[in-house]
């Protein structure tokens, strides 16, 4: 983390003017956070790495499109989030059987995971698994607001939509995640409220059906 030196906007201007090092400094400052967004959105290290690289290369090349009306970090987050969402959409649209290059990638991934079993476990963690069940607009909103702690206003700027939309996406995403993650909840747990997830789901279904037993 480089806290000294010129601010991001200055570095961005230098980058556009041809400074070969300026962009790298910006990346060094923010890459951990951008990585967290990517891994949480995609739930897969290899995909997150690819998305982050694509996004940073893209940001490098289109720095002129940065107008300074948002923070550099907001702008970069937007590019990273969009790169992640593009990947999710592509993955969905692809045929089910993996292409040969995907098999290679799976092998690479397997090797990577073997080197780092803790990270492998992490990727399969309940939270990341649960996140993958969300539609991507909700997932992106939850990642930014709930996981990364961005104010809804900032998330709205990153995702280029209204504040109300972010709130609604977060709310709907939480409603979907709750039955999947309620059991994880630690701390400030009201006594006697350890309702198993299955029960929660049943309750919810009863409520939706309007029949309160």
């Amino acid at each position: 983390m480089t806290d000294e030196g010129p601010d991001d906007a200055t570095l961005m201007a230098r980058h556009v003017a041809g400074d070969p090092d300026a962009f790298g400094i910006i990346v060094q400052r923010h890459r951990d956070r951008l990585w967290a967004v990517a891994i949480r959105t995609l739930g897969d290290r290899e995909e997150a790495a690819d998305a982050l690289q694509d996004a940073l290369v893209s940001a490098f090349r289109r720095a002129e499109s940065y107008r300074g009306d948002a923070a550099v970090t907001t702008w970069m987050h937007r590019i990273v989030v969009n790169a992640c969402l593009d990947r999710i959409r592509r993955r969905k649209a692809r045929p089910a059987e993996p292409l040969p290059e995907d098999e290679d990638r799976m092998e690479e991934l397997g090797e990577t995971l073997e080197e780092d079993p803790a990270a492998a476990l992490e990727e399969r963690s309940a939270v990341l698994q649960a996140l993958r069940t969300l539609p991507e607009p909700q997932r992106a909103a939850i990642v930014l607001v709930d996981m990364e702690g961005y104010p809804v206003e900032e998330a709205a700027r990153i995702l280029d939509c209204a504040v109300g939309t972010i709130k609604s996406r977060c709310a709907r995403g939480r409603a979907k995640l709750l039955p999947l993650l309620r059991h994880l909840r630690t701390g400030n747990q009201p006594s006697g409220s350890a309702v198993p997830p299955a029960t929660v789901t049943m309750l919810d279904e009863q409520r939706r059906g309007g029949g309160d037993g």
Partner: protein
């Protein structure tokens, strides 16, 4: 007294907790939650969920990924430094198209005949930089909609005569006469054409079915298994390209795109119809 028999559903409760309901509904749900222990508990759980999510550990940026990112950025920097008109050039380097697909229209794309032009990976650092520039400048600024009208030759500019001269490099197409070139070189009996050119990096207004049609073809279109149509190797404004042709149906759709890594960047589309 709130109506305890009619519980708000969990989405309502979540939106209530977020303050995302309209004022009337907000106070309605609030009255209910005040009276209903079950719903109050769900609200508490929903409110606590962000904390649970935020605490979920995230794998740190792996060293090898950090190094990879550094290398990629260094490569970009030296590629830019190697290009004389660095600042100018970077405005026309193909960017990843920011896609906004409206609805999944894969089925529609499969029905539509598709022609695709795929320029192989752009950022290889070879001569493709220059040719990419020329392709970009020919489709500069905003997307242009062009109408060839009759392809009999009355239109401005003659069709490229060398359309299919070189088997190995493929037909040479020009973005100035894209629709007619495609018709002349590949599609017999379909002579009326219209086409659009898109500014590199701003394929926002490309119809979503075109994106879907070329999806999965990059980074190596020649290796991709086609669900329909055929693939040709061509050049567009001198840039090596691939041409995916599906002449099925009353009209033939055409898509020109470059590959930016796994992403297809659409350059032009054409619709060819029988006279």
């Amino acid at each position: 007294m709130a109506d305890l028999a009619r519980h708000p559903d969990v989405v309502d409760l979540a939106e209530y907790a977020e303050g995302a309901l309209d004022a009337a509904r907000q106070s309605e749900v609030e009255r209910h939650v005040r009276e209903c222990a079950d719903c109050a508990e769900t609200v508490a759980d929903l409110t606590g969920l962000p904390e649970t999510l935020a605490q979920a550990p995230v794998p740190p940026l792996p060293t090898e990924v950090a190094e990879r990112l550094d290398r990629a950025i260094a490569a970009e920097a030296s590629a830019r430094a190697a290009t004389p008109a660095a600042a100018t050039r970077s405005t026309v380097v193909p960017m990843r198209p920011r896609r906004r697909w409206l609805t999944p229209v894969l089925a529609a794309a499969a029905v539509i005949g598709v022609i695709g032009l795929a320029v192989p990976v752009f950022n290889g650092g070879t001569g493709s930089d220059d040719s990419g520039d020329s392709a970009a400048s020919s489709s500069d600024d905003s997307a242009r909609a062009l109408e060839d009208g009759d392809a009999g030759g009355q239109g401005p500019g003659a069709p490229q005569p060398n359309a299919s001269n070189d088997e190995r490099q493929g037909a040479s197409l020009s973005s100035d006469t894209f629709g007619r070139d495609v018709a002349d070189a590949f599609v017999t009996g379909k002579s009326k054409s219209s086409y659009r050119l898109y500014a590199l990096g701003s394929s926002e207004d490309v119809p979503p079915e075109y994106h879907h049609a070329v999806q999965g073809l990059c980074p190596s279109p020649t290796d991709a298994e086609l669900s329909s149509g055929r693939l040709e190797t061509i050049t567009l404004d001198g840039v090596p390209a691939h041409l995916l042709i599906n002449p099925a149906g009353p009209s033939t759709e055409a898509i020109a795109f470059t590959c930016d890594g796994p992403e297809a960047l659409i350059l032009a589309t054409a619709t060819l119809t029988p006279r």
